[in-house]
């Protein structure tokens, strides 16, 4: 109980982290491990406050990604579909033009080179993209030709496109170079002349026109739009796969009459999203597959950046929240610890004062019972001594006299003990009057004057001039000061110092400091000095009741006592007393 108020003043931040329960306080603490409470509270707070945030963020990101993906699919599908329609229209238009020619004009008109040239120029004017026109009969020999190349008389019998075009009404070839070493597409329509012989009107389309059509759908540099054939060979140049005729090594997508979009399997943002469509005209299935590749990262760039910013914000908020949670937990647990500690100390003090009260009652009982036999011993021994003394017999028997004196002295010591024990009971009774502390101290010191001079003790008193006369129990205060000053005198060696200071720092109480330069109290004894019968004084010197009575008295006067001591240096007792003592109900 000693020194406790000191600890309470020091409300250390993080005190709980470094706490070690004092053994005598341990049983009064509500919790034993504050560190784990601290950690658990941080974890619980962090989980409850951060998990919704993290969950929301994850869900949000997922939703954003999904909607971006969906948007991307839609976009790609639209571009693919539009481009497909254009390409189909491009081819269909030209095929229909040829069909119109063979149906409209008689065979003889067609095989007239000049007429054919006129038709070609009209086609170039009307549609564009035509390079040349030729009429090929069923043998594969070219009957008429109009165009920039000198291909007259060529026989195409062995050419695969010829065989194929002879088998059906309409034909569209892949892009190929053929005899002329220029990439071109052949479109051909089959018809029958007046003689019932099959012939083919073939037109060559330059690919540039087709490429231009495709490129018009290229919305940005990150979109790759190209045609490939059914074996994966490029039919127009591709940004990603290279020049025309380069094999793409792409898996040729499954045949479908509609436009489809393939999402990349891997989630990496550098993957391509691919839209594809087989180009199918009403009349013929072309060998072309239209592909539109979009790099996800580029398209999603804005979204991804937003996501990153969002992640940063969430990360920083989580960090801030963690710091706040940690600080709050630390603060709360520390408060809890300090409160618990105060509670434990209060309970300990209560227990101790209860113990004291019990001891007081018990000792008073014992004292009463012992006093009578003690009185008898006293009188009997006294009588024996008297006998020797008054009858002048064996007066010189020193041994007998010494022993009788020893008995009487022992009785007197016992008497001191019993009267102090009775003091325990007495201290529950208080009479309040106005007391001038200075006068009281001066009086007590006067009492010790001889001892002071004899031992050469230097006594100083410093009483703050504003110290008021206090309302308290004079007798008890006198006994408190007497006990403490007596103790000090016993501790002080020759030429030591005793300083008594009275200060009035707070309006409602005064503090009396009794400081000696004596032997000091070892730390392990500090806790015990107020225990009844605890004494370190050598034989006969003390009963071990002084300080415990003093403690009880100070408490009775509604004050506090606290001690600071270091061995070999000295001891300071601080007695704080209220200026105006409250009357107790029970008194």
């Amino acid at each position: 109980m000693i020194g406790k108020p000191q600890i309470l003043h020091k409300q250390e931040w993080l005190a709980f982290l470094f706490h070690r329960h004092d053994a005598h306080l341990a049983s009064f603490h509500t919790f034993s491990n504050y560190r784990s409470i601290w950690i658990i509270s941080i974890i619980i707070l962090a989980v409850t406050s951060l998990s919704p945030l993290v969950m929301a963020t994850l869900i949000n990101q997922r939703l954003i990604r999904q909607s971006v993906d969906a948007e991307l699919v839609l976009q790609t599908e639209r571009v693919t579909s539009n481009a497909k329609r254009s390409v189909r229209f491009f081819l269909e238009e030209r095929l229909n033009a040829l069909r119109f020619i063979v149906n409209e004009l008689p065979y003889y008109a067609l095989i007239d080179n000049e007429h054919l040239a006129e038709i070609l120029s009209n086609l170039k004017l009307g549609f564009g993209g035509f390079t040349d026109l030729s009429i090929i009969d069923a043998d594969g020999s070219q009957v008429a030709y109009a165009g920039p190349f000198n291909l007259e008389g060529k026989n195409y019998k062995t050419q695969p496109w010829f065989t194929k075009s002879l088998q059906r009404d309409n034909f569209i070839s892949e892009v190929f170079t053929g005899y002329r070493d220029v990439p071109h597409i052949i479109i051909a329509v089959r018809s029958m002349n007046a003689l019932g012989r099959l012939f083919i009107l073939r037109a060559t389309l330059d690919t540039q026109r087709l490429m231009d059509t495709l490129l018009s759908y290229k919305t940005n540099v990150h979109t790759d739009i190209f045609l490939m054939n059914h074996t994966g060979l490029l039919q127009t140049p591709s940004k990603n796969y290279g020049k025309i005729f380069t094999p793409t090594r792409l898996d040729v997508p499954e045949f479908s009459t509609t436009t489809n979009v393939i999402m990349p399997e891997n989630k990496s943002d550098h993957a391509f999203i691919t839209g594809y469509s087989y180009i199918i005209t009403e009349a013929v299935t072309t060998p072309f597959i239209l592909l539109v590749n979009k790099e996800k990262s580029v398209v999603m760039g804005t979204w991804l950046n937003l996501g990153k910013t969002f992640n940063w914000i969430i990360g920083i908020s989580c960090l801030v929240m963690m710091i706040i949670i940690t600080l709050v937990s630390t603060f709360m647990v520390n408060k809890l610890y300090l409160a618990d500690k105060t509670k434990a100390e209060t309970m300990l003090r209560m227990e101790q004062s209860q113990q004291l009260a019990c001891i007081g009652q018990l000792s008073a009982g014992i004292a009463h019972e012992i006093n009578n036999p003690l009185a008898l011993i006293n009188e009997t021994a006294g009588y024996l001594k008297d006998l020797y003394h008054f009858t002048e017999e064996e007066q010189n028997d020193e041994e007998v006299m010494e022993n009788l004196d020893a008995i009487l002295e022992a009785v007197s010591r016992c008497g001191t003990i019993t009267s102090q024990l009775l003091g325990f009971v007495r201290q529950f009774d208080v009479q309040i009057s106005r007391v001038d502390v200075e006068k009281l101290i001066t009086g007590i010191l006067r009492f010790h004057k001889k001892e002071t001079e004899y031992k050469g003790i230097h006594v100083t008193t410093a009483i703050s001039p504003d110290t008021p006369a206090i309302e308290t129990d004079r007798g008890k205060l006198q006994q408190i000061l007497l006990n403490l000053i007596n103790n000090a005198f016993q501790a002080i060696e020759a030429n030591g110092c005793l300083d008594i200071t009275v200060s009035h720092l707070r309006p409602d109480n005064i503090t009396i400091e009794i400081k000696d330069t004596g032997c000091g109290i070892p730390a392990e004894n500090l806790k015990r000095i107020h225990e009844p019968f605890f004494s370190t004084k050598k034989e006969k010197m003390g009963t071990g009741l002084g300080l415990s009575i003093t403690y009880g008295l100070v408490k009775k006067l509604q004050g506090n006592i606290r001690v600071e001591s270091s061995e070999g240096v000295g001891t300071i007792f601080f007695v704080t007393l209220p200026v105006k003592m409250q009357k107790e109900e029970s008194a």
Binding site: N371, N372, A375, I377, E379, G382, D386, S412, D429
Partner: protein, 125 residues
């Protein structure tokens, strides 16, 4: 009426006897009563005969405070000292209120008693 110095009222016979003997050795005349009634009776019969009274609180027939009250009724001027092994603060208060001079705890030294007597005599004189 025989003048004596001290009337001892105490049920501890041995104590009372021993004290009487010791006081006799010091030429102090004593009379011991072992219960309250006999003490009161003695005072009644011999008013003003004792210079002072030493009264115990715990007596077999009645409590010391009652005895004190009776004695004070009979002879208010006689100095009564309470000498007891028991006695609470309340007893002390009551006794002092009833007119006891001092409340003394046992054991008490012979010197203290002689001093008391000297004071009493001095006052009487």
């Amino acid at each position: 009426m025989k003048q004596i110095d001290i009337l001892i009222i105490d049920d501890e016979i041995k104590f009372a006897d021993m004290l009487s003997r010791r006081l006799s050795l010091r030429a102090i005349t004593c009379r011991a009563c072992y219960d309250g009634q006999s003490g009161i009776q003695w005072v009644k019969k011999n008013p003003g005969a004792a210079a002072l009274i030493l009264l115990d609180l715990k007596l077999p027939d009645m409590y010391g405070t009652q005895v004190l009250a009776h004695i004070k009724q009979i002879d208010p001027g006689i100095p009564v000292f309470i000498i007891t092994g028991h006695g609470t603060r309340e007893d002390e208060k009551e006794c002092l209120a009833l007119g006891a001079v001092e409340f003394i705890h046992k054991p008490v030294s012979i010197e203290k008693i002689t001093t008391l007597l000297n004071h009493a005599r001095g006052e009487v004189q």
